[in-house]
Structure formats: structure tokens, C-alpha cells
């Protein structure tokens, strides 16, 4: 039986792992390669590396980090942050990334999703969507959730799937950093409407939050950062809990 995935997210700045509360206050949580190895050994199903200060001249540093990670771990990982062109994707995949995620670039130029999916296959193209509730309607936000767009989240999710995205990484900016639980409602709405997997992100604080997002939220995978980095929730314990709750999980 296909299992639900637990995905720690490592935010990277200047080659180090950081995690902001609502993306503003940054704390250092260590060396990404070491941390990746620990998570892989602890039973994480996948990892996401998000380069939060990715700029063109930093691309090479990121590719070097990707190679180090690929050499060290034996589980799949996704790299995101500042990726906008087919060439960016090629560099990171060749360095050893299994998938890449794009966010703002897709909003700016949706055709790039088709282009990347055609060139590399849908299986390695993750489209990250940051969503926020604006007066009762969900809108896509860019730039770490600061900049609202006119795109309605559910419609955009459908469009990126139609254009060839292999997975959607849905982050609720309303929930991110709150530790009050995932945005189950919109996650379920999008996951039910689409035939591609949805990774839920934003709001994980307790073990039952993961159970809720896999059941009520119909998520295929759940992503979190600080609760893992600061050992508030150990991955082996989380997995045992979810198995006990009847969720299909890889031991």
C-alpha cells in the first residue's frame, strides 16, 4: 500500500539551515548535509531544501550543496528557491536533485511549467503554492507570502496540474509558523479536485496535526521544519504514532 510521506523542510541561507517564524525571524539549525543524513537515518520519507536567498550568483553554491546531499543520503529530495528557467532546473537535476520546486516564476510565467515538464518529465516538477485567505477567498501569494496576486488558489492549483506539474506543495501562510495545525480544508479541497499528489505545509505543531492532515486534509504528504529541527517532534515517534492511528506509513 502506498504510504503517506513525512517531509522535513530545510531552509537554506548561505549554505546553512535556517527556519524563520513566518519567514521573518531566522534561527540557525545547523549544517544541511548533517541534518539531511540525520533525517534520512531517522526515517524521513523525503526532504525539501528551500534556498531562501537564492540569487543568480548563489546558484553555483546551491548546486554544490545539492551534490553533497545527493552523495550523502539515499532518499529523494527536492530543491527550491529562486528557480525560474529550464537551465536552472538542469543544473540542479544534474547536481543530483530528484525534483525541483518552482513558485514565483510559475506565477509570473505559467508557461515555464509546461516547458520544464516537457523537458524533464512531470515527476520532477513540484509547483509550490503559498496561499492566504483574503476576506474569505484564498489567493496565491508570492515572495515568501508577502505579495498577494490576483490568482485564486484553487483555480491556480488546477492550472498548474493541467500544465504538467507532478506535485503541488501547498503552504498556508495563515497557518505557517502558528503550530496550530495544517490548513486541512483547502488542502482537502485541492487534493480531491486534482489527480496529482498534494504536500501540505504550514502549521504543524503536534502529532495529531499530521493525522488530521492525512485524514481530513486528504494530503499525500506533510511537510514541516522547525518542529523537526528543534526536536519538538521526533520523526520515529511521529511515525509510530501515525501507524497506531491507522495511517499508512513507512516504518
Amino acid at each position: 500500500m502506498l504510504t503517506k510521506r513525512i517531509i522535513p523542510c530545510l531552509d537554506i541561507k548561505d549554505g546553512r539551515t535556517v527556519k524563520g517564524v513566518n519567514f521573518v525571524q531566522l534561527r540557525d539549525a545547523g549544517d544541511p548535509v548533517e541534518l539531511a543524513k540525520v533525517y534520512s537515518d531517522e526515517g524521513a520519507d523525503e526532504l525539501v531544501f528551500l534556498d531562501i536567498t537564492a540569487t543568480v550568483d548563489k546558484r553555483k553554491t546551491l548546486a554544490e550543496l545539492v551534490t553533497k546531499v545527493a552523495m550523502a543520503i539515499n532518499i529523494p529530495f527536492t530543491v527550491g528557491g529562486g528557480i525560474s528557467t529550464v537551465e536552472d532546473v538542469k543544473v540542479l537535476l544534474n547536481a543530483g536533485a530528484d525534483k525541483i520546486s518552482i513558485n514565483s516564476a510559475a506565477v509570473k510565467n505559467p508557461g515555464v511549467i509546461d516547458e520544464m515538464a516537457r523537458e524533464f518529465g512531470s515527476q520532477c516538477i513540484v509547483v509550490a503554492i503559498d496561499t492566504r485567505d483574503v476576506d474569505g477567498t484564498d489567493y496565491v501569494h508570492t515572495h515568501g507570502g508577502r505579495k498577494p496576486t490576483l490568482l485564486q488558489t484553487q483555480k491556480w492549483a488546477k492550472e498548474v496540474a493541467d500544465r504538467g506539474a507532478g506535485e503541488i506543495l501547498l503552504t498556508s501562510m495563515d497557518h505557517d509558523g502558528t503550530k496550530a495545525g495544517f490548513a486541512n480544508e483547502i488542502t482537502a479541497e485541492i487534493s480531491s479536485a486534482l489527480s496529482i499528489p498534494v504536500i501540505a505545509s504550514g502549521g504543524a505543531g503536534t502529532m495529531p496535526h499530521f493525522k488530521d492532515v492525512f485524514t481530513f486534509g486528504k494530503a499525500d504528504a506533510a511537510l514541516a521544519a522547525s518542529i523537526f529541527h528543534f526536536k519538538e517532534i521526533p520523526i520515529p515517534g511521529l511515525k509510530s504514532y501515525l501507524i497506531g492511528e491507522g495511517i499508512s506509513i513507512r516504518k
Binding site: 539515499n74 529523494p76 480531491s192 499528489p197 513507512r250
Partner: protein, 215 residues
């Protein structure tokens, strides 16, 4: 990475002198396979040189991508003939498995025909419950007694990413369930093939690779 290798019953030095060819063609994510072999202490070479491939101790045929494009590329370089002539232990991975079959529904592609098996697209009965591609960790079941499957650690989860699958056949030595049972691993003569990505499948995947290197 000697520690990891010794955990699964092999010392890194076991594979050091082995000559492993990884077939170079227009498939994605080949690097991960090379890194996985490196973690086992094996020094593999990515090559499309027929001489090197025919003289290797072991040949690995990785792959991620689209079937018809891959077949066109292989034929243009006569690698299709070469693959059929190989006598050493040969391992196809992911798209590599599908290309070793007879035919794929992916763009109606005639494949290499090593395994008399057809490759079909997953059709979900219920698209909310079963998404395509099949992405994530799923379990090996119905394992045959085969050298490739020897002493695999439990539980036997592997990482899958695919929209097409090989049907069950006489050559199937392990299956996995998604929507229905499909072929997880094939074996016939000197050819083995794995649908999942052993290079990304933690200790179970490493054991499959080290078993292959030990054949």
C-alpha cells in the same frame, strides 16, 4: 560510507575492483545511481562505449523520462542491439525496466523485448483515492526465491515514481500493489529489472543494489 555498507552485510572493499558500466543515454537522474554505487564502495563508469559496456563485470541501465524518446536515442546509437547481446548480469531501473519489456503504452512504443511483458498506464478507478503518477514509498510483496532478493531488510518499502507499470508475468519475482498488483521486479537469464528507485530507497534499496553487485 563504509559504515552504511557494512550495515547491510557488505564491506565497501567487496566491490572496489569490480568494473561496473552504467549505460549513458538521454535519461534523467543518472547521477543518483552513480552516488548510490559509490556509497557501496563500487566505482561505476557512466558510458555509451560498446567496448566498455561489453567488457564490464556488471551493467546497469538506469532511467527516468519518456519511453519513445529513450528508444529513439538508443536505436540511433545501436545501444538497443548492444543491450540484447549482453551476457553479464544486467540491471534495469525504473524506465530501464519498462524499456526492457516488449511494448509500452507510453506513446505506443516498441521496446527492447528482453521480457515478454507489456507496459501499461495506471488507470485509477477513483482519481481521488489513486493519483497518477504513483509517487512515494510502497511495499514489495510476493517475493520469489531469487538471488537479488536475498536477505532484504523488513519492511520492504521502495520509493516509486511512475505513471506506467509492467504487467505481472512469469518473469515477475516481486510485486507491489497500487490500484492493482503490478510488477515490481523482473528476472530472466542474466537480466534483472526494478521498477522503483533502489538508489533512493534507503537500506532496502541499498541491499538490492549490493545483491546485484554480488551476483
Amino acid at each position: 560510507m563504509t559504515d552504511m555498507a557494512s550495515d547491510i552485510g557488505h564491506r565497501a572493499s567487496d566491490f572496489i575492483k569490480m568494473n561496473i558500466a552504467v549505460i549513458k543515454y538521454n535519461a534523467g537522474n543518472v547521477q543518483s545511481v552513480l552516488y548510490a554505487l559509490e556509497r557501496l564502495g563500487a566505482d561505476a563508469e557512466l558510458t555509451d562505449d560498446p567496448e566498455k559496456i561489453l567488457n564490464a563485470d556488471k551493467v546497469i541501465f538506469p532511467g527516468q523520462g519518456e519511453a519513445s524518446t529513450a528508444m529513439t536515442y538508443l536505436k540511433a546509437r545501436k545501444l538497443d542491439q548492444l543491450i540484447r547481446e549482453i551476457k553479464q548480469p544486467f540491471l534495469g531501473v525504473c524506465l530501464g525496466l519498462q524499456l526492457l519489456c516488449e511494448h509500452s503504452e507510453e506513446n505506443n512504443t516498441e521496446c527492447l523485448g528482453i521480457f515478454p511483458v507489456k507496459v501499461k498506464r495506471f488507470i485509477p478507478e477513483n482519481s481521488q483515492e489513486f493519483k497518477v503518477p504513483h509517487i512515494g514509498w510502497n511495499e514489495l510483496e510476493n517475493l520469489a526465491d531469487n538471488v537479488l532478493l536475498k536477505d532484504l531488510p523488513d519492511p520492504k518499502f521502495l520509493y516509486y515514481v511512475h505513471s506506467y507499470y509492467a504487467e505481472l508475468s512469469d518473469a515477475t519475482i516481486a510485486s507491489t500493489h497500487y490500484i492493482h498488483d503490478f510488477t515490481a521486479i523482473l528476472h530472466r537469464d542474466n537480466y534483472w529489472a526494478i521498477q522503483a528507485h533502489p538508489e533512493k530507497s534507503s537500506t532496502v534499496g541499498e541491499k538490492l543494489l549490493s545483491n546485484f553487485l554480488s551476483i
